[in-house]
């Protein structure tokens, strides 16, 4: 079912206008996203990972380069986006947040709720359908956000450090949950993460961006067979690959601006 390349990114560069010559966030990124595969993006902070996702989601325009979606009949791709913060509408209950995309497609409330139930079960939120977002924990809110993205049946699911705001334990648990969810319904996923082990656990392919300006410095096919479980985190190959990846992410400290004497 999924032989092709879903998205071909060619020579993508982004420069933000910032008053002193522009800030180069991404520099000639070339990347193919294979259909039904899980791609993880690693890189030091400020390397343009979020920028890359926002471009793919159509929230910003690239300065140069192109995106080519390979969707049937050239339809615009359906994209589900999950941010680091859940970004739920606080005036909608959990289930109403999940049905929001369906409401926008003009699907009746009854049908939308029926479909949402399945996703509520999938992300493990049964019993919290009618909770207000302010009463949900960070992990539960992020599950709602995930269900809101999944219910759109996206061609491409973009996850921007979806568990970055959660505590370590919840985060590990959510990683395992995402693995389960993704293995249950194979969609193309691109996930930005700071966690090397999260990337290795979940992804078929890991790509690494360099410090600013973001360039693609590493592409790695993850060798572990599926279905995977949380246990592989503790295998020697996993640890070896983690070290290997760690070495290619050079988290360069932000240069500290040195106060200079004004020129005469």
């Amino acid at each position: 079912m999924c032989p092709a390349t879903l998205l071909r990114i060619k020579n993508l560069s982004v420069t933000f206008q910032d008053g002193n010559g522009g800030l180069e966030a991404l520099d000639s990124v070339n990347l193919d996203l294979p259909e039904c595969r899980f791609v993880a993006v690693l890189g030091p902070s400020g390397s343009g990972k979020t920028t890359l996702l926002r471009i793919i989601a159509g929230l910003i325009q690239p300065t140069s380069g192109s995106l080519q979606f390979n969707t049937p009949e050239g339809n615009p791709p359906r994209i589900g986006l999950v941010f680091q913060q859940a970004n739920l509408m606080p005036w909608r209950t959990a289930i109403q947040n999940i049905t929001l995309p369906l409401e926008m497609q003009g699907i009746s409330e009854k049908d939308a709720c029926e479909r949402a139930r399945g996703f509520i079960d999938l992300v493990g939120l049964r019993g919290f359908e009618n909770s207000w977002p302010r009463n949900l924990s960070g992990g539960m809110a992020q599950r709602v956000a995930l269900a809101r993205a999944l219910i759109q049946e996206p061609d491409l699911l973009l996850l921007d450090e979806p568990f970055g705001a959660l505590d370590a334990l919840t985060r590990e648990h959510m990683g395992a949950e995402l693995l389960r969810i993704w293995q249950a319904r194979e969609t193309t996923v691109m996930m930005v993460t700071h966690s090397i082990s999260e990337a290795l656990l979940l992804a078929d392919r890991v790509v690494v961006l360099s410090a600013r300006p973001g360039r693609l410095v590493r592409e790695l096919d993850v060798p572990f067979p599926r279905p995977r479980t949380d246990e592989i985190r503790y295998s020697p190959e996993f640890v070896a690959l983690s070290h290997d990846l760690r070495a290619s992410i050079k988290e360069e400290p932000e240069p500290i601006p040195v106060a200079r004497k004004p020129k005469k």
Partner: protein, 275 residues
């Protein structure tokens, strides 16, 4: 265990009991006020045209009510208020939306908007009565002008305050401008917008009374003028109470709408009986 470590929170049954007790506080405080008023009148021996007693005011109120005149004048003032709120609030909402979307338009209009706020309504009320006559039109206009500014400001502030990350959510789902308005901007703006409307509703009563005091032949403000001219101080009191009732009614209506629409943010522990 429970006895050794008493829970810092009140148990539900305790909370219910205090809420039930509090229900009596308001009527008791009102009765106490009336009693104090009667005592002052009796002890001071002031004539009724200076300070009528609560009983005299109640009798006057009954006369006015059964004669039908009180309802007529109240209805006139209420119509002025509602029409003024509708016109002023409506205009302010539309203008506010346009200005929130276009900062350059806001720049262009700001001198006039600030000037409109700087001119006291009481000062231009006579002019408006000269131009639009002593009928309802001039009061509706004065009311509308009073309501306009607070609603306008809150419309702009509320729309500008729509969180950018939620806008991103809508953009990522390819929302049309109409969908963004209905599903994001209106619900997100509602708390601040309704707070503006609540202030506007209270101010509109001042607008209507000022208009009626300046020149009118109907309305509660007219009754106040009438009572003052005839040294019928009890009548003035009746009219004032009528105005207070209207103000509370309007305020309460907006509050009710707020409670209904903003259930998602209400926190019962923080509610006050004033808001």
């Amino acid at each position: 265990m429970a006895a050794i470590y008493p829970s810092p929170k009140r148990s539900p049954s305790q909370a219910v009991r205090t809420a039930k007790q509090r229900r009596w506080f308001m009527p008791v405080s009102l009765l106490g006020g009336l009693l104090l008023w009667q005592i002052i009148v009796t002890v001071s021996g002031l004539p009724a045209f200076i300070l009528p007693s609560p009983v005299e005011v109640a009798v006057r109120f009954w006369d006015m009510l059964t004669g039908g005149r009180l309802l007529l004048h109240t209805a006139v003032t209420l119509s002025e208020l509602l029409l003024g709120l509708l016109a002023g609030g409506g205009a302010a909402t539309l203008t506010g939306y346009a200005l929130a979307k276009s900062p350059s338009a806001e720049r262009l209009m700001s001198p006039y908007l600030i000037a409109s706020q700087a001119v006291p309504v009481a000062a231009i009320a006579p002019l408006l009565v000269i131009w639009f006559g002593p009928g309802m039109a001039s009061k509706v206009l004065i009311c509308g002008l009073t309501v306009f500014f607070p609603v306008l400001i809150n419309t702009i502030v509320s729309l500008r305050g729509v969180p950018e990350n939620l806008r991103d959510v809508m953009r990522a789902m390819r929302a049309t401008p109409r969908q963004t308005l209905l599903l994001l901007e209106i619900p997100a703006a509602l708390p601040v917008y309704l707070a503006g409307l609540r202030v506007g509703a209270t101010l509109s009563v001042i607008g209507a009374v000022v208009g009626e005091l300046v020149g009118s032949n109907q309305g509660l403000g007219f009754l106040i003028n009438l009572g003052r001219g005839q040294y019928d101080t009890a009548l003035v009191f009746v009219a004032v109470f009528g105005l207070v009732t209207l103000a509370i009614l309007l305020y309460g209506t907006v509050l009710l709408v707020e409670r209904r629409c903003l259930a998602w943010q209400s926190d019962p522990d923080k509610e006050t009986s004033l808001l």
